[in-house]
Subunit: 230 residues, 2 copies
């Protein structure tokens, strides 16, 4: 049996809290991770910080398009307002690849209030915008950046994985498990509305109960139950 | 200190799976519970079944309006398609009371697909429809009817409680705790969209992983953390 090489992952918006947390965890798990950013100074600084945490030069950085071109899997973690423009910027590199979209349609300043776009899900809109040649998978919207960045902290949050392509969902479930997260098939891309809306609810819970990072667990299911069954 | 009497609860749609499960649990916890239904035969039969499970005559039944009039708190558990008509039927009895709305906008046959109404939440629409004199609280959308009906089964599902009136939310959190459920303040009524969408995701998970009743737990929070703090 040939051992498959791990895919290269580009994290666009990888200087932000969520993106840098995911980048750090995947780099720790042995993936080649490229941080994509429009801001070279910030990218260099965050990259150095993360490599420092890991104690080795595991992460590199590039502009978004160069990062996306070099990667097998592209992860979008920019703010909602920048998601469409960032996807368009790297569009030429996306065909046939998986785009993991962690976008949540938060509308500041009322980020603890569910404000879904017309039609429901921001990520479903992205899939419609990019067309069927790009396999968009919604995931990681509910995982606390605060906890991702702290490698000593087990991230107690399950990942709802939505997408119209089941193989792509399986790949993303594998990437979540590689960094210690339970992840579940949660239906077609339109179901991402649930995870998007839930993010505002978790922000509301954080605020009310004065905690840093509420998350969710799916109950009634064994953690490893049929995870790769189709 | 005067001991407050427990409120009387009317469960409209109490012959259905979710409604009868909640009615059973509250009756078991010592509340006076009235099942409201349009169908007298079915109401009598379900009521007898539930009393049989409890081993005493704890539940009664009435038509919806009589049940709502006699109750302090009204719980709406009819299917989405019947929710508006049922609320209108009992509208004259609702002023100043709490209406717990467990409605999920499922659109058969694709119930595992998130299909939120325009504007996001079905329950937020109900609050707008009924006006501010009725305190609508969204809750219990994610709790498995299958597990509620089995009194030997601990219900492993937290309740997201959304509403624009914080005191009303507190009351509902108390009612959830009375039947052994953890419940949390989850923001204003529009945030019910998260729990509504999540129901379709849980149905998708049940189907894919061949389990009877997936649920959610909120993580990162102590179960009793500041539950009644405002």
């Amino acid at each position: 049996m040939v051992q498959q090489e791990k895919p290269t992952i580009a994290v666009l918006g990888g200087t932000g809290n969520e993106g840098s947390g995911l980048a750090l965890r995947w780099a720790q798990a042995g993936y080649r991770v490229i941080i994509g950013s429009r801001n070279a100074d910030k990218a260099a600084r965050v990259c150095a910080e993360l490599n420092d945490v890991l104690g080795r030069t595991a992460l590199t950085w590039q502009d978004n398009l160069t990062a996306a071109k070099a990667a097998d899997i592209i992860v979008l973690t920019v703010p909602y307002a920048a998601a469409r423009a960032t996807a368009d910027e790297v569009r030429s590199s996306l065909d046939g690849k998986i785009l993991i979209d962690a976008t949540v349609p938060l509308v500041p300043p009322k980020v603890a209030r569910v404000q879904l776009p017309e039609g429901g899900s921001a990520v479903a809109q992205m899939q419609a915008h990019l067309g069927a040649d790009v396999r968009v998978v919604a995931a990681f919207q509910n995982v606390s950046a605060h906890h991702l960045r702290d490698l000593a902290h087990e991230v107690e949050c399950d990942v709802l994985v939505c997408g119209d392509d089941i193989d792509a969902r399986d790949t993303v479930i594998g990437l979540a498990r590689a960094i210690g997260l339970r992840a579940y098939h949660a239906g077609p891309i339109c179901n991402a509305a649930a995870a998007e809306a839930l993010t505002s609810v978790l922000i509301a819970i954080n605020s009310r109960y004065k905690i840093p990072g509420a998350g969710i667990r799916i109950t009634g299911i064994e953690a490893d139950c049929h995870a790769h069954e189709q």
